[in-house]
């Protein structure tokens, strides 16, 4: 994906880390299949994790319906959630993951710390 916005920072992960959810900074792509992956703040301990909620605010910039996915990379396995047909205004989309996609078992905090996540154009 490419960096965009009225005052974007220099890297994709920083551009996507826009807490205000507006066009000041964001990442974008018009190409289906393109996605970003970001490293997560490793704040968890080794305890069992009940579930992981991936969340992003997404929008499209014209009237053509776009479909966004949320991508999760765990170990050598990359998976993506369901279709999120976005609007022209930002809306929060989320997917729930209860099992580690790489093992098929429950997750630990240590495993989650090492996962990567990001948005995808799945139109």
């Amino acid at each position: 994906m490419t960096i965009a916005g009225s005052a974007p920072p220099a890297t994709n992960w920083q551009a996507a880390s826009n807490q205000a959810i507006n066009d000041t900074s964001y990442v974008k792509t018009a190409v289906s299949g393109v996605y970003d992956l970001y490293a997560l703040d490793p704040i968890l301990g080794g305890q069992a994790v009940h579930g992981l909620l991936l969340r992003a605010a997404m929008r499209q910039d014209d009237a053509t319906q776009q479909n966004g996915h949320l991508v999760l990379k765990a170990g050598a396995t990359t998976v993506e959630g369901g279709d999120h047909f976005v609007n022209q205004t930002y809306a929060g989309e989320y997917d729930i993951v209860e099992l580690n996609p790489d093992t098929g078992l429950g997750m630990t905090g240590t495993e989650v710390n090492a996962m990567n996540a990001g948005p995808k154009n799945a139109t």
Partner: protein, 245 residues
């Protein structure tokens, strides 16, 4: 999937009012019975439960019915049995009734609600709090003002075999079985949202903090019961993935 939603509120803006509302609405929360007047009382505080993260904070005295009344989050899934949990801290000056419950978004009806009364009692109603059908209550003093506690609620929706259990810090304080838990006029409806807020608010002080939500249904083999003292956490991105795409 049985875990329907969880949110630590760890990423909401550290500001009051409109920014918080915009954030909540962007992520699918909506204000029920809006007529929203005093937005500025909405703010976030840090830390939240366990001294980590943020939560929502309300401190206002609404003068018009509907102000700051209830906030609903649709989970996009119908359930007839679900488990909702959240951290709550009721402020010293609060004299409103704090409500959490299961909500039918299609009919915009609160199906079953657990309410916190100023004397430390939990009361359960079919419908929206005190104006609806009383089902049962706890002993006095099961929760305290100015004390963090984790409230969990099981909602089982049925006209005959409905059930509800409310737990405070994992201890059951209200357990009801064989109840009618579907309000009249909503037969066949499901819960598909959770709701929190305050009732009996006009002219009264609403002062509470709430956050760290989770919501499950009872389907599948994982996360289909009370989760107990869980701690939702927000993990933000801190860099590119090690292997660039």
């Amino acid at each position: 999937v049985t875990l329907l939603y969880h949110d630590s509120h760890g990423y909401i803006p550290v500001s009051a009012g409109a920014a918080t509302q915009a954030y909540l609405e962007a992520y699918g929360y909506y204000y029920r019975r809006s007529g929203i007047g005093p937005l500025t009382p909405w703010s976030v505080v840090s830390p939240g439960r366990f001294g980590r993260g943020r939560c929502l904070s309300v401190n206002a005295t609404p003068v018009v019915a509907g102000e700051l009344n209830e906030i609903v989050f649709p989970v996009g899934a119908h359930y007839t049995k679900g488990y909702f949990g959240c951290f709550v801290n009721v402020g010293a000056g609060n004299d409103a009734v704090i409500l959490v419950g299961a909500h039918d978004a299609v009919n915009d009806v609160i199906m079953l609600s657990a309410t916190l009364w100023p004397n430390g009692v939990v009361k359960v109603f079919m419908g929206e709090g005190p104006s609806s059908v009383f089902l049962g209550q706890s002993e006095a003093g099961v929760w305290k003002k100015e004390t963090d506690f984790f409230l969990e609620m099981f909602s089982g929706l049925n006209n005959v075999s409905g059930a509800c259990e409310v737990r405070i810090n994992t201890k059951p304080v209200v357990s009801l079985i064989a109840q009618d838990t579907i309000p009249a006029g909503t037969a066949g409806a499901y819960a598909d949202a959770f709701v929190f807020g305050a009732v009996n608010v006009v002219g009264k002080v609403c002062a509470y903090k709430i956050g760290d939500f989770y919501l499950n249904d009872d389907q599948g083999t994982k996360n289909n019961t009370f989760l107990g003292n869980v701690q939702p956490r927000t993990m933000v991105m801190v860099g590119p993935a090690p292997t660039p795409v």
